[in-house]
């Protein structure tokens, strides 16, 4: 038993766990056989059994049943269900269309469905159910109130509300103005811009995966891995002093994690060139600036010429430019996370003189 727990604790160290999740995500997405009723049921039972068995572990139980964290457990099941459900329907439709049949939605009705009453009634019922659940919940579970707020003492760990834990996780790797201002705005604006960037009419009104596999994979990667998974990490795996803890690990406020973070400039000037850091900030940070510029300015045309040729042609220059910058910004997060975990890299560009760090 202890061995299994240790194994799980070991696997949930950030770099390993994150890699596993990414690989699993892409493999699962492409494996048609997973998205059936049978596999769905098995997965559900497996997760439930996992939770029940793990409940006997006091450390696991303590974190999972904290009033703040109960909704996240619920979310785990909800998100899992909806991801499975939509992919199942998408793959079933793909099979139907491969056989030359119309998608299932076309059989249901071939006509327009009215907003009123069809949609509004469903929404009304959902609203009632959600209100009732919330009311009962609010009565049954006590609010997790803490001591009065103070500007000089904070609870340890200090966690944002659950829906911001993804952002808080980003803040570990980026400067506040990037993780707190630029990225959130980019996420919102990017989501609003999606219909103008991706004008492919395939999949309107019916589920499909094969007709737009790349788009769906990209979107779900951002949503499931970079947002939902980060919320889970922040909820269950981040403990005192914002250290990582395995699911069966005791939240020891004195856990020692050596994290000597180093800026990119120091890597170059001190470690590789063997000279000291230049005094002047531009000279000091020039390599980091070049790397970031290359990432956002040189990489898109290179990708367009080499690997994304067809996409570039279909989208046109303007759409491609906006889309690729958004995608690269998104990918920058996992890149920075790995750099931190593997090389202890702090900032690629660090200009504390102007509060500018990337």
């Amino acid at each position: 038993m202890q061995f299994v727990k240790d194994l799980f604790n070991f696997l949930s160290s950030p770099a390993i766990f994150f890699t596993l999740v990414i690989v699993l995500f892409f493999v699962a997405l492409r494996t048609r056989r997973l998205w059936t009723d049978r596999v769905g049921t098995v997965a559900l039972v497996a997760v439930v059994v996992y939770f029940v068995v793990s409940f006997f572990d006091p450390n696991f139980k303590k974190v999972v049943t904290a009033p703040d964290n109960v909704p996240i457990v619920g979310m785990l099941f909800l998100i899992g269900f909806f991801a499975w459900f939509s992919l199942k329907q998408a793959y079933e439709n793909d099979d139907r269309m491969a056989r030359g049949e119309p998608p299932a939605e076309k059989l249901e009705t071939d006509e327009k469905v009215w907003c009123w009453p069809d949609l509004v009634y469903t929404e009304l019922i959902a609203l009632l159910v959600a209100s009732i659940v919330l009311l009962v919940w609010a009565i049954l579970i006590e609010a997790p109130l803490e001591e009065p707020a103070s500007i000089t003492v904070a609870p340890n760990p200090s966690k944002a509300p659950w829906y911001f834990l993804g952002l808080q996780e980003m803040l570990v790797y980026f400067d506040p103005w990037l993780a707190g201002v630029v990225f959130p705005s980019l996420i919102i604006l990017g989501l609003m811009a999606l219909p103008y960037i991706d004008t492919n009419p395939k999949g309107n009104g019916y589920y499909t995966f094969r007709e737009r596999a790349r788009e769906i994979a990209l979107f779900l990667f951002g949503f499931l891995v970079l947002w939902v998974f980060m919320i889970m990490t922040g909820t269950f795996l981040r403990g005192p002093n914002w250290n990582f803890f395995g699911p069966y690990e005791y939240w020891d406020p004195h856990k020692l994690v050596p994290l000597n973070n180093i800026n990119f400039s120091e890597f170059i000037w001190v470690r590789w060139l063997g000279t000291g850091l230049p005094q002047q900030w531009l000279a000091r940070e020039i390599f980091g600036i070049l790397v970031v510029l290359a990432y956002f300015l040189a990489l898109p045309p290179l990708l367009a010429r080499r690997w994304l040729n067809d996409i570039h042609r279909k989208m046109g220059a303007a759409r491609y430019a906006v889309g690729i910058v958004l995608i690269l910004s998104m990918i920058a997060l996992p890149i920075k996370m790995y750099l931190r975990w593997i090389f202890n890299l702090k900032y690629i560009i660090a200009i504390p003189e102007f509060f500018f760090n990337i």
């Binding site: 000089t152 200090s158 803040l171 570990v172 004195h254 702090k346 504390p352 003189e353």
Partner: protein, 183 residues
């Protein structure tokens, strides 16, 4: 759906027939409009003014930004002193050469870090930034060291800490004599 739509226009005149609309002259109508909009504007303005007033409270329950921190011999050499942390958010560090006052405000996003005596570091509970005893940042996302406050001796021989004057390492201000109290 379509039959419902047709029923609606049929109903309207019938209802209108039943109620006798009062005679409203053009002038009184405009007067009422003016009164209505006028009072709405006035109410909004009062609301905005009240909100702005809210920004300037009559009393502020904030500790003063400068305080006396006792006599120098009350501090043990090599210690990070926590007695003013909760009230003023300041650590007073006694080194062999003297004193400096560190502000307990993380330079990442402003959370108050904790002093972990066993690990000899300040550690932020929000995103895990860590600082050495001197305030220099070494782990986590904090981009610059903790800030120091002005520290000097008052006339009565007590240590006086003034938080309104800050000394930033990255601007070379830790060299400033007021950022360090020599003994």
């Amino acid at each position: 759906m379509s039959s419902e739509k047709e029923a609606v226009p049929g109903k309207v005149p019938e209802k209108a027939k039943g109620a006798t609309p009062p005679k409203v002259s053009r002038r009184s109508f405009l007067n009422w409009i003016a009164i209505g909009w006028g009072s709405l504007t006035a109410a909004t303005l009062v609301g905005v003014a009240a909100t702005l007033r809210f920004m300037f409270p009559n009393v502020l329950f904030e500790p003063p930004s400068s305080f006396k921190a006792g006599f120098p011999d009350e501090y043990a050499v090599g210690e990070v002193d926590e007695r003013w942390k909760e009230k003023f958010g300041v650590w007073i560090v006694r080194t062999t050469e003297g004193f400096f006052a560190l502000l307990a405000v993380c330079t990442h996003l402003g959370c108050p870090p904790n002093w972990l005596a066993a690990e000899a570091k300040y550690k932020c509970p929000c995103h895990g930034s860590g600082f050495y005893r001197t305030g220099i940042n070494f782990e986590g996302p904090a981009p610059r060291p903790l800030e120091r406050a002005r520290i000097m001796l008052a006339d009565d021989g007590q240590i006086l800490v003034d938080k309104s004057r800050k000394f930033l390492w990255e601007k070379g201000e830790w060299e400033d004599p007021e950022s360090f109290l020599k003994v």
